[in-house]
Symmetry: C2
Subunit: 336 residues, 2 copies
């Protein structure tokens, strides 16, 4: 492996001149610059990232923490981040931090303390207790995607609004018995779930249906939604419409309805939030959010902050658009 000293030697200049020529900083004559560049490419010179980082203090690496990666939303966000960083020549170091796990504690103390990155993107991390302090202590800019409400620099949709919008869609179709399916367990999504539930509650109240509010807890997974929906649809609480906390739960509900012989949308309307990759196949009406875009935005904002640390970028909530497909229909008058 040839270092910058070899390049300098070959170009007949000093290390410092070679460095300046390669990085473009400082003054260099055109002639030397081309000579150095030629020497570098002839030798296949690649600067040592460690040496550069040690000398400059910046790593050209971004850390990403998320509770897990094998869930549609997180994987999509990660793709978005990755693509953006790659384009800018940044590396991405991934940290897994399942809530409550001992590994998570290690990540927050040991791994973050190493400061292997110039900045951190926290996806779906709702820091608890001393984790907040530990994040501060990292001393690097942080951008969150769907983080806790009170964190700074959070990218995401307005969940209350999205959920309210979804509920209003059902109300507009004449539905009155609308159940909210999902959340209620102390899982990762806690905060997002809470906001979406809130939006549903608000829309119902505004429609004078406070008394009809029905929150059915369910794990936030497809099978979880399936199981919860089977229960819900089999007993006398059966609603005419379901708003699911996310598409996976919604799809679980659709599958449950089919199993039970309940026609969707004729006898049951279902609406989700996400626009999951499976949504189209199930003709699911949903509020589309674009997690890849969210990831990309988070990455862009973070890189921007690194360049201009003093003028913080203001982050607008991202839009969530209603996509009407074929899982929702006007309520069957006989069901009222």
């Amino acid at each position: 492996m040839s270092g910058i000293a070899d390049v300098a030697l070959r170009a007949g200049v000093s290390k410092s001149t070679a460095s300046r020529a390669l990085s473009g900083a400082g003054h260099t004559s055109e002639r030397t610059r081309t000579r150095v560049l030629a020497a570098a490419s002839e030798l296949g010179y690649v600067p040592s990232t460690n040496a550069v980082s040690l000398a400059t203090g910046r790593t050209r690496n971004i850390g990403v923490v998320m509770p897990r990666v094998n869930r549609w939303f997180f994987a999509e966000v990660l793709e978005g981040i990755q693509a953006t960083l790659l384009a800018r020549g940044y590396d991405l170091t991934l940290y897994d931090a399942k809530p409550g796990s001992p590994e998570r504690a290690r990540v927050f103390t040991e791994f973050f303390a190493r400061k292997r990155f110039d900045g951190l993107i926290a996806v779906g991390i709702e820091p608890v207790d001393d984790e907040i302090g530990q994040l501060q202590a990292v001393g690097r800019p942080i951008v969150s995607v769907v983080g806790a409400q009170d964190q700074p620099g959070v990218v995401g949709i307005d969940d209350v609004r999205a959920s309210r919008r979804a509920t209003e869609h059902l109300l507009g179709l004449g539905h009155r018995k609308i159940a909210f399916l999902g959340a209620g367990d102390a899982e990762v999504w806690a905060n997002v779930d809470r906001l979406r539930l809130e939006g549903y509650r608000a829309a119902m109240s505004d429609a004078g249906l406070s008394a009809s509010i029905l929150h059915v807890p369910s794990p936030v997974t497809l099978p979880g939604g399936y199981a919860a929906a089977v229960d819900l649809l089999s007993d006398d609480r059966r609603p005419t419409a379901i708003l699911a906390v996310c598409d996976e739960v919604a799809i679980g509900a659709i599958i449950a309805a089919r199993r039970l012989g309940i026609a969707v949308p004729a006898s049951l309307s279902v609406v989700g939030i996400d626009d999951h990759e499976f949504a189209e196949m199930f003709a699911l009406t949903t509020l589309r959010q674009e997690p890849q875009e969210q990831g990309a935005l988070a990455a862009r904002v973070l890189l921007e902050t690194l360049q201009h640390p003093d003028n913080p970028t203001l982050i607008e909530p991202m839009p969530a658009r209603l996509i009407v497909r074929n899982s929702t229909a006007s309520v069957d008058p006989s069901q009222l």
Copy 2:
């Protein structure tokens, strides 16, 4: 930020002694060691990874390349790798490399050349053309998960066997018209697909059914399987059983069958390969592989190789066990 010099000063020793005491290398008296350790913890000393890497040549970081992360198998493998590395104190740098994309080319040249890692795990990477050379040029140990056949150090199941086993299960139930659903496009999975198709072909031939071999191409996704199955089941090629290249395709087929009013397993048996997280919910009979385990194994093997570069670890194919659920049944005699 306090460096090792500060620690040394506080402990009243030299930098080198502090370094030895902290790393455990070389001789240090018990007394100095405790003093140094105390000083370090009082100062909250964390060694600079860059300085360590620069001096020692090792990064305590592992690179992971995969074509994409938002696909069940890859996400699971990644979880497995992550957990194992975390436990050993290693960082993980993720590289996304969709086949054929210009970004992939950059990853293979620019990003790999930086050698930010001690070793590389390539998941589902089937290197083409000069990529093989570029991987060699990295000069770091590489372990693959479901890579190309001729690569060294590949972790994975025996796909031919798994597929053969699945086919034999259907044959054992009396099925004769068995279709193989999936693959056929020049996608990521090409090699795995090919092997699984091969296993199916072999089992059919052995049963004297070469003439009945029916390969139906399909994108390797749930919606893709759905669409292909709708076609297949609607026309006169309709088989009594389907072997899908993976569970997502299999589940797509089950959903398609339901839509078409074809009872599973009464009128159609479906078997998959994977044991996807949704498999249980769809009562899918499948050959279970455990991607998390594969990821973990790959990580262990790689770390082992780093410690003992000269005695290569032999990697056995991982087991794939048949999980019989309720998507397969004896063939309906009237269909023969």
